[in-house]
């Protein structure tokens, strides 16, 4: 079970993407085993499905497919989530970069949850295990509010 999850997690960093990919893999396997309408796949989805070696698909058969996905869903629900608040909406490549960097840096199995918060202005805020830390420009401005307003006043007086 962990092998399957680890294989999926190798290039899947965000929680939303993980949900999407598990559903995709499941529907693809169900179609293979039991037939039915083909799901509409985007090129990136297709590439992802093709990226797995044949040995990976040999883990699944008609009898265990439902059980494996049920266990899989339970397992990945337990993964801790690192929520990153950004002032912009990152593209898939940026998310992958952030994911690869954070996993390499911290070495823990966790998922990213990227959220958009334009109030941050710039920078990021992180939320990990119920603790929210704001490293954004907004906070820096808040911290230096007095200093900035003094500078402005000084500038206006000149």
């Amino acid at each position: 079970m962990n092998d399957i999850l680890n294989t999926i997690l190798k290039d899947t960093f965000s929680h939303t993407l993980l949900n999407h990919r598990v559903k995709l893999l499941k529907s693809n396997l169900l179609k293979t085993f039991f037939g039915g309408a083909s799901p509409t796949l985007t090129p990136s989805d297709l590439n992802w499905l093709k990226s797995f070696p044949e040995s990976f698909y040999r883990n699944f058969n008609k009898d265990n497919v439902y059980q494996i996905f049920s266990d899989l869903e339970q397992n990945y629900a337990k993964l801790p989530i690192l929520t990153i608040y950004l002032a912009f909406e990152p593209d898939e490549a940026t998310v992958a970069n952030i994911g690869a960097f954070t996993r390499k840096t911290f070495g823990l199995p966790f998922m990213l949850d990227i959220k958009l918060d334009p109030r941050l202005i710039a920078g990021a805020a992180l939320s990990w295990k119920g603790v929210y830390r704001d490293f954004s420009l907004r906070t820096r401005i808040e911290e230096k509010k007095e200093e900035i307003s003094q500078s402005f006043k000084k500038f206006l007086r000149q």
């Binding site: 939320s127 295990k129 119920g130 603790v131 929210y132 830390r133 490293f135 906070t139």
Partner: protein, 484 residues
């Protein structure tokens, strides 16, 4: 860097939401979502915290909530007097913001009741100005007396009367209106204002349309305010109207939270919730503020049945109860209190000797008359002693009737109850008293000839001395009374 604790919505059910996160959160901490919806922590399990929402709004899964610096509480101070607020201290009377200073302390709503070391013997009577209560079912300062009765039995009228009669006594009144219609709140404010009782009163109200968790907090807020004044050495009268609605709201919250239902579908800790609340009343030692909180929780009965769960629970956690009857109220008996089924377990120790002896005698007559009630229809054939008991019962019941929003001093109350034992009243009928009661009361309050009698009442040793004095003024009474 700005650091705070956050949690994300895992699931939500109406006003109840479950969050994960919040590593160091405690019960009664407050949380708020990005769009300003507030909630308070009701319970904590291994993976989630249960939050009861105080504001109405849509909470979607994964919404972020952050922990607030303040815990569940409200600012307390003298500025609350004369105001009507909601359980979070937001004014609801349309008089604008509370005129508080910046340094007002926040008081937590869910405080644990002070321990036995902070309490003292209840030794002073809490005077309501109502003859029936002050003489036959007396209340002590710091007592908890349950007010229970049918709908339309005059409970609210009695409570308003008791509050209005605290004028110029220094007593602070706090009223909790729990899930009442908004019009009831408005009417109460108007009645208190027109009787100049608003100046020493604080109203904490929630209307029935508000969120259940907010309604649930109403009595807690009222107690917190009462404790503020008690700690300043004030005597406080606290009315909780009514705990039946409060129990129903708590049942709603508990059932929604999947707590196992018990008797009448109430959760198992409903007794704890009410006992935990009422324990906060009492008479306190000077080093703990020195004031007192006299609590009058109210519960409305369903079809006159007082043997259901909530009324019996409340009876067992209070120091007595006053049972109001709609039937008596309909017959014009105000206050419509069933004396034989009402009790005060603490108040009698606060009465002086004359009051105590006189009320015992009156109770004995009322009790004897109740036994003789079945044979009373043959009154003309009964022995004179029995006829006298029945006549005196009628006289007492008439004397104990009191118009709404009237107050009688303790001395006048005692005189009224002693009058039926005098020769002048021996053969007087109920209609005679009905006709002359007002005149007699006026005479004792204003007639200079009777002033010495009033002055002497508190110096007497027993009720016989009082009856003797009243015998001596039979002439004056016969002059002022009209014979039918």
């Amino acid at each position: 860097m700005n650091q705070t604790e956050v949690g994300y919505v895992v699931s939500s059910r109406n006003f109840l939401i479950y969050l994960d996160g919040f590593p160091t959160i405690r019960i009664n901490d407050m949380v708020e979502s990005d769009n300003g919806l507030r909630g308070w922590i009701n319970s904590i399990s291994e993976n989630t915290v249960e939050v009861l929402m105080l504001d109405e709004g849509v909470v979607k899964p994964k919404t972020q909530f952050r922990k607030l610096d303040t815990r569940l509480g409200l600012p307390t101070g003298d500025f609350l007097l004369g105001r009507a607020i909601n359980p979070l201290g937001i004014p609801i009377d349309g008089k604008g913001l509370l005129s508080r200073t910046k340094n007002v302390a926040m008081s937590e709503l869910d405080r644990e009741a002070s321990g036995i070391e902070s309490r003292q013997f209840i030794a002073n009577q809490f005077l309501t100005g109502i003859t029936l209560i002050d003489t036959l079912i007396p209340l002590g300062r710091g007592q908890r007396e349950l007010v229970l009765g049918d709908a339309h039995s005059g409970k609210t009228g009695f409570l308003i009367n008791a509050i209005v009669n605290q004028k110029n006594t220094g007593v602070i009144c706090v009223i909790a209106l729990i899930g009442k219609p908004a019009v009831t709140v408005k009417n109460l404010i108007d009645v208190l204002k027109s009787n100049k009782a608003l100046d020493y009163t604080v109203i904490v109200a929630t209307s029935s349309s508000e969120a259940a968790p907010l309604i649930f907090l109403t009595p807690k807020t009222a107690f917190t305010i009462a404790e503020y004044f008690q700690k300043k050495g004030k005597h406080v009268l606290l009315v909780l109207d009514d705990l039946g609605s409060h129990a129903k709201i708590y049942r709603e919250i508990a059932l929604l939270g999947n707590k196992p239902p018990g008797k009448e579908s109430y959760p198992g800790d409903i007794f704890y919730q009410h006992a935990h609340l009422l324990e906060r009343a009492g008479n306190f030692l000077p080093q703990y503020g020195g004031g007192s909180i006299t609590a009058l929780p109210v519960v409305e009965l369903n079809l006159t049945d007082f043997t259901t769960l909530i009324p019996t629970n409340l009876m067992s956690m209070t120091d007595g109860h006053l049972l109001f009857r709609a039937g008596m109220h309909a017959q014009g008996q105000t206050p419509a209190i069933d004396i034989s089924l009402s009790v005060s377990r603490v108040g009698r120790q606060t009465q002086n000797k004359v009051s105590n002896l006189l009320s015992t005698r009156v109770r004995q007559i009322l009790s004897a008359a109740a036994d003789l009630e079945t044979i009373s229809r043959f009154s003309s054939e009964l022995p004179p002693e029995t006829q006298l008991i029945l006549r005196r019962k009628d006289q007492f019941m008439e004397l104990l009737k009191q118009d709404p929003l009237t107050m009688l001093s303790k001395e006048v109350q005692l005189i009224l109850l002693a009058l039926p034992f005098t020769t002048f009243f021996k053969d007087k009928t109920r209609s005679f008293i009905e006709k002359n009661k007002r005149v007699i009361i006026d005479a004792f309050q204003n007639n200079p000839q009777l002033a010495p009698v009033i002055r002497s009442v508190n110096k007497l040793n027993n009720e016989e001395e009082l009856i003797k004095i009243l015998e001596s003024i039979g002439g004056i009474l016969s002059k002022i009374c009209q014979t039918p």
